[in-house]
Amino acid sequence: MIEVEDLWRTYEMGGHALHALRGVNEVIEDGSHVAIMGPSGSGKSTLLNLLGCLDSPTRGQYKLAGQDVAELSGDALAEIRLHRIGFIFQSFHLVPRLTALQNVELPMIFAGLHPGERRERAEVALVSVDLADRAGHRPNELSGGQKQRVAIARATVMGPGLLLADEPTGNLDSRTGAQVLDLLGRLHDEGRTLVVVTHDPGVARRADRVLVLRDGEIVRRVSGDEVTDLGSLFSSVEDADKVSEQAVQKVGR
């Protein structure tokens, strides 16, 4: 379970503070499927990076399975990323010089698994994303959808309970994007928690719950079924009020 309380993330930019997150509160149950939406710069990726222990909050508390991550050392956080979290990125982040199989093996190298076991598990993972026949190919020999499936195999090979995907279909056409989403959906159905950052209402619609971020705050929580189009989410009266409030605050400062 993910528990986030009054989470702030502030960047220093040329002498003045930039608040990427302003007091986010959220609880994500194990096994749930959450989408995070919002315009560019609303803090979606910042929130995802914090949930993935890649970044640490300026203020507030993040508890992962009851453990306050602020109390953990760098090595302990690396251990969490290794065993309990799988990242999926918009730009895939495959290592270009390594084959698909070697890319999937990568986390297991850092986990210190035996080469034989590594290979076996990587092969199984590639089979599960339907890429067994591409094991020896390098990323530049794979299509976008294939690359993302390799990345998903890499993210799941250590058996994490939490998958964090940042615009997983952002670089894919709709057909291969749908394949990737089906794959993610299947992984969720197997019991994993899935948090997806997206611009695409079609992606968000698959989630149980959608968090809408604006200027670093969660402005709406809706169910996936309620997502129809971007307009309905971002142009609500409530949202507009928030924006004008902030404008007033800014002028006040």
Binding site: A78, E79, I80, L82, H93, P96, P107, I109, G112, P115
Partner: protein, 401 residues
């Protein structure tokens, strides 16, 4: 993460940038080639000198006329001419000092040797039959100087290889009469080819009886006396006895007495010092190569920051990332070291083909040291880039910053 994993990962990364890796590797190689070949030359030089001396025989003491003054002060011999070394001295040394097996008086001069129309200016070495064994001279045909007392003076000559060739071409010199200065001498032997030897051009010299040589040059003194000691004799004790006896005969110490070991030692130490200084300079080029590696690794880290971010995201610890880049730098320098070792050894072997007299060989300590040094170069200069990689902010790194 095992060392094998690290090496595999490093090798993969280095292969991605073949040209860049190769160039920085060559930088290390050049430094290693310099160290390997220069130590080989130094060692070869020392061995060359040692061989030269050991060809003089097991334990030899050389007596030269004149005091070797190194302390300054009023010169000796004012008001009195120092006594030269004489044949008599040589004979008495052999008779009276037990540890002396043979005493060989040597008289060196230069004169013209001629046969028919051909003539040549050569060093004339007056010696005794024992000189052959002392210098390990090989006779190609005929014999060396006949046995007998030092004061015996036959009119016979033994020719060095080159002299014989130049005077007689393909003809047989044995039994022929040559003219040395105004003297006629019968050729009784020709030496085998010897090559260069420290202090004496054997091939270009002729050898006659020491007494004859002194008569020809109208001298009463010899140039050197070489004492061959018995194998078990203590050279220091022998030198003491020689000094005592000669001072008794000359009334003062107007000669210099050195053992071959002492000369060898001081020459070797001079060569070693020079060689080490040169090697030190060569080692500086390794440091330069290290900076090259650092540069390449820094570029590599900034180019691969997205990769570093990914490695962090999938759970690599700081220490593991540090290891990845350190091993990469170390692999680069170690491969450079091995390449340099191979090239340097090749160079040394080639040099030995061209100059067989100096048997150059890189000493094991130098190989071990230069390998450790090149590994250390990679690790040492790899620390900064690896540290930078390990401390990248993963979020920024993933975005390629």
């Amino acid at each position: 993460m095992t060392l094998v994993d690290l090496l595999q990962f490093a090798g993969n990364a280095l292969l991605q940038n073949r040209r860049r890796s190769a160039l920085s590797l060559v930088g290390v190689s050049i430094g290693v080639v310099a160290v390997v070949s220069l130590t080989a030359i130094g060692e070869g030089g020392i061995r060359f000198v040692a061989d030269q001396f050991s060809s003089l025989g097991a334990s030899v003491v050389i007596i030269a006329p004149g005091r070797n003054e190194t302390t300054g002060g009023i010169p000796r011999g004012i008001g009195g001419i120092p006594n030269d070394l004489t044949l008599r001295d040589s004979i008495i040394l052999e008779r009276r000092i037990q540890s002396v097996r043979h005493s060989v008086p040597i008289s060196v001069s230069t004169d013209t040797i001629s046969f028919g129309q051909r003539s040549r200016n050569v060093p004339i070495i007056g010696a005794t039959s024992d000189f052959q064994r002392l210098q390990k001279l090989e006779v190609a045909s005929g014999q060396f100087l006949p046995e007998g007392e030092a004061d015996r003076g036959d009119s016979v000559v033994v020719l060095g290889h080159t002299v014989a060739k130049e005077l007689f071409a393909a003809g047989n010199p044995l039994g022929m009469t040559v003219r040395i200065g105004g003297w006629r001498m019968r050729v009784i032997g020709v030496l085998a080819m010897r090559g260069t030897q420290l202090g004496m051009q054997v091939d270009e010299s002729v050898f006659i009886a020491v007494a004859t040589s002194m008569r020809m040059a109208n001298r009463s003194s010899v140039s050197r006396i070489m004492l061959e000691l018995y194998p078990k004799a203590d050279p220091d004790r022998a030198i003491e006895q020689v000094k005592k006896l000669l001072i008794e005969r000359h009334d003062e110490e107007d000669f210099t007495c050195i053992s071959q070991d002492a000369v060898l030692e001081s020459l070797s130490s001079i060569i070693r010092t020079i060689a080490l200084a040169i090697v030190g300079i060569a080692a500086i080029s390794l440091a330069v190569a290290g900076i090259g590696i650092m540069n390449v690794m820094l570029v590599s880290v900034s180019e691969r920051s997205a990769e570093v971010g990914l490695l962090k995201a999938i759970g690599a610890t700081r220490r593991q990332i540090l290891g990845v880049f350190l091993v990469e730098a170390a692999t680069l320098s170690m491969l450079g070291g091995l390449l340099g070792l191979a090239a340097g050894t090749g160079l040394v072997l080639l040099g030995n083909q061209l100059y067989p007299a100096v048997d150059a060989a890189t000493p094991i300590w130098a190989i071990v040291a230069v390998m450790i040094l090149s590994l250390g170069t990679g690790v040492g200069f790899g620390v900064l880039p690896a540290w930078r990689a390990a401390n990248l902010d993963p979020v920024a790194a993933l975005q390629g910053h």
